[in-house]
């Protein structure tokens, strides 16, 4: 279903709001070719983009790439944070692992002071 991958507003957002509890939602049906283009709902990403007062308009492709970049970012920061947890021989990622990763990795410097 094309609507799933492009993050068509309504169905995606319903899934998200229903999934506030810890139980993970059942995985959305995969794209026909097997490659998922984007999991994050484009409507939410667009809302973030529009929150910037300097932004006039954003093309659909730009929104899509931002969504995909955000996904990559989540994967990256999760993996980096996990390295710290692994050193502590823990199997659960904690908030402090994230803080350590932010401090250790230069690219995450922009996050300093924003998560509190």
């Amino acid at each position: 279903m094309a609507a799933v991958t492009t993050g068509n507003g309504a169905p995606r957002e319903e899934e998200g709001s229903g999934g506030e509890s810890a139980a993970p939602q059942p995985q959305a049906p995969p794209n026909a070719s097997g490659t998922r283009l984007s999991r994050l709902p484009l409507a939410r990403v667009k809302a973030l983009v529009k929150a910037d007062p300097d932004v006039t308009l954003a093309g659909q492709e730009a929104i899509f790439i931002l969504a995909r970049a955000a996904e990559l970012f989540v994967e990256t920061i999760a993996k980096d944070a996990y390295c710290c947890a692994q050193q502590g021989k823990r199997k659960t990622l904690q908030r402090r692992d994230l803080d350590n990763a932010i401090e250790a990795v230069d690219e995450f410097a922009f996050l300093e002071g924003t998560l509190d």
Partner: protein, 147 residues
Amino acid sequence: MAERPEDLNLPNAVITRIIKEALPDGVNISKEARSAISRAASVFVLYATSCANNFAMKGKRKTLNASDVLSAMEEMEFQRFITPLKEALEAYRREQKGKKEASEQKKKDKDRKTDSEEQDKSRDEDNDEDEERLEEEEQNEEEEVDN
């Protein structure tokens, strides 16, 4: 309602799924860590948007485009994202093209359909008009009787 842009969070379920797939099996994530990552993702989008917007403004454009975002990634020192993002963009463009062609085809079919439907409709409308006239005449008669 969101008070600050950072409060526009991305869906928790999706964030959790992405994290779990990035990590080895059996690894868990605390609620605090997950919500912090979710906020970080929102901040990331805001920061990337701002960077991309600078490139758009430099190019005297009012609309952010894909290359603005890619330039922003480089500026933010996330070069490692650029190749996978370019690939994703290619795939997205292919899909959009496919969808556009499919909807154009649908539209053509629909136009053909409505043409034949309109011919049937005009015949029906003539019948309806006759019925309405009949009803009006009946009402007029009733009014006269009341008077």
